[in-house]
């Protein structure tokens, strides 16, 4: 399909260490379409992070094929914000441009405009430890977006936050990703989080991970994550995913 921006075909990943080998991923098949928001849920330790590392090309699969559409670039967002404490928020946000050597005045402006647009304008000269957890995670997202990636890979980006902040930041991040029209692949072990943001949810088995269920969610495109939680389908989806996750 030409709209597929990322696809895994029979992908297997085995880690080798002195202690032995661990099959983290086995015969994994899935795809992500352009503009889609896909959530992957799976039991802890099943190989979720491995899947993102494979997608980003940080790991080579032991078998199978991973296809990435032409000119697709990835932006990675981790569980913790991983802002560098010795850099100001501005310098943190511009980090990907420094690394990729695309530190032009135009790119700089684009990245900083994005920061201002999403409410970080007043904090650009602050250091990360002066920001709240939610603000820091937002800064981390803007940093991810700074290099204008085609697709975002989100590895449980909210799980380090307390519940209240988490709901808000999730809403926040969802809105930014949507309005910037990015494709996103979100890893989470939180079922309700997956339902509240995704167009499609994939359920993984225990390790070695493979897809055991796929669900297209039919929420109205304009319902925000917090609103989705109020919808009547929500609990139905939750129950189904919960059961599938616990077989």
């Amino acid at each position: 399909m030409k709209n597929q921006i990322l696809s895994f075909k029979d992908v297997t990943m085995i880690y080798h260490t002195a202690q032995g080998e661990t099959a983290a991923v086995k015969d994994l098949n899935f795809y992500v379409q352009r503009g889609e928001f896909v959530a992957i849920i799976g039991p802890s330790g099943c190989g979720k992070t491995t899947i993102l590392s494979l997608a980003a090309g940080l790991l080579n699969p032991s078998g199978g094929k991973i296809s990435v559409a032409d000119n697709v670039t990835f932006g990675y967002m981790l569980q913790k914000d991983e802002l560098f404490p010795w850099r100001t928020i501005e310098k943190n946000i511009l980090l990907p441009l420094e690394i990729k050597n695309t530190h032009t005045a135009e790119n700089r402006k684009k990245a900083l405009d994005l920061a201002i647009k999403y409410g970080l304008g007043d904090f650009l000269k602050s250091y990360p430890d002066q920001l709240s957890g939610g603000m820091r995670q937002r800064a981390a997202l803007i940093r991810t977006l700074a290099s204008d990636p085609t697709m975002l890979l989100l590895d449980e980006p909210f799980s380090a936050l307390d519940y209240q902040t988490r709901l808000n930041v999730c809403d926040d991040v969802y809105n930014i990703i949507r309005s910037e029209k990015k494709t996103a692949l979100l890893i989470t072990h939180d079922i309700s989080e997956a339902i509240s943001v995704a167009d499609r949810v994939l359920v993984l088995s225990k390790r070695p991970a493979h897809v055991v269920g796929e669900h297209v969610l039919h929420f109205d495109a304009n319902t925000k994550p917090l609103q989705r939680r109020e919808e009547k389908e929500f609990s139905g989806w939750f129950e189904m995913l919960w059961r599938q996750l616990n077989v």
């Binding site: 590392s53 990835f74 990675y76 010795w86 690394i99 990729k100 250091y127």
Partner: protein, 271 residues
């Protein structure tokens, strides 16, 4: 975002005042303690309760330093020791840092060299003194070599553990941005290990003085360590004490400079 004084509550102002008073008391007591110790020492010596020939006394120390100054040898000896210490310190720190970088870079090299470093670390470096004298002669070069030897292993081990402790997730993040090893080093490993670097400098200030003074004990014709040994041999305890006092002062100043550097580069614990 610091509040100005006017914005604080009355209670907080009282609290600040109390803190200030406490630290003032600490400082005054510190100075009084020194004065008291010196006073008692002087008094005991003056009244011949203890033998000033063996214990010296503050006034005799001052006189000795004065006469060294008049003879014109004070700054000569201080200069020799200071030069050796600083040279040894600088070489140990720079070379240690670079070697640690190399060991961070190549895990294989690290594994190959590990047992050697462990053995060198536990070896009392001073045991190599005679060898060094044979290799480097009996001049300042030998003393610098001993100083380097004492400091470098500690510099390597400290920095290496600092480099290795770099947050794995931050490395992953940089890799996901396409960073290579040099960029990871430059953007992450070096800046995040700055606190380790400062604490390594602090340790090595002490090591450098140990190195240079020990070195001068074994082989020297000048320097504070030489004065101490010489003073001991001819039973001039005033000279021994005077050199020790100068040594304390210099070591204190050097440590203070490192602390100043720390204040400059590590702001609010964020490097």
């Amino acid at each position: 975002m610091k509040k100005t004084k006017a914005e604080f509550s009355r209670e907080h102002l009282l609290y600040l005042k109390k803190q200030k008073r406490v630290s003032l008391v600490v400082q005054i007591t510190r100075i009084l303690l020194l004065v008291l110790l010196l006073g008692v020492w002087e008094l005991l010596a003056d009244l011949q309760i203890v033998n000033p020939f063996i214990t010296s006394s503050p006034s005799r120390i001052v006189l000795t330093i004065g006469s060294l100054y008049v003879e014109g040898t004070l700054f000569y000896h201080v200069g020799v020791t200071l030069g050796e210490t600083l040279a040894g310190f600088a070489i140990a720190v720079v070379a240690g840092y670079l070697i640690a970088l190399l060991l961070w870079w190549s895990e294989t090299l690290r594994r190959i060299l590990e047992p050697y470093i462990v053995v060198l670390n536990s070896l009392p470096k001073i045991a190599l003194g005679p060898l060094i004298i044979i290799w480097c002669g009996t001049g300042s070069k030998a003393i610098v070599a001993i100083t380097v030897l004492i400091g470098i292993i500690i510099a390597i081990l400290n920095m290496l553990s600092g480099f290795i402790a770099t947050d794995k997730n931050k490395i992953l993040l940089l890799q996901s941005m396409g960073a290579g090893k040099i960029q990871i080093l430059q953007k992450l490993v070096i800046p995040s290990s700055l606190p380790t670097f400062i604490s390594m400098l602090k340790i090595n200030v002490g090591m450098a003085w140990i190195g240079s003074i020990m070195g001068e004990y074994i082989v020297s014709k000048a320097g504070l360590g030489y004065l101490i040994v010489y003073g001991g041999q001819v039973f001039k305890l005033d000279l021994v004490m005077a050199a020790t006092v100068i040594l304390c002062t210099l070591a204190g100043i050097m440590y203070f400079l490192v602390v100043l550097l720390e204040k400059l580069v590590v702001k609010n614990g964020r490097n």
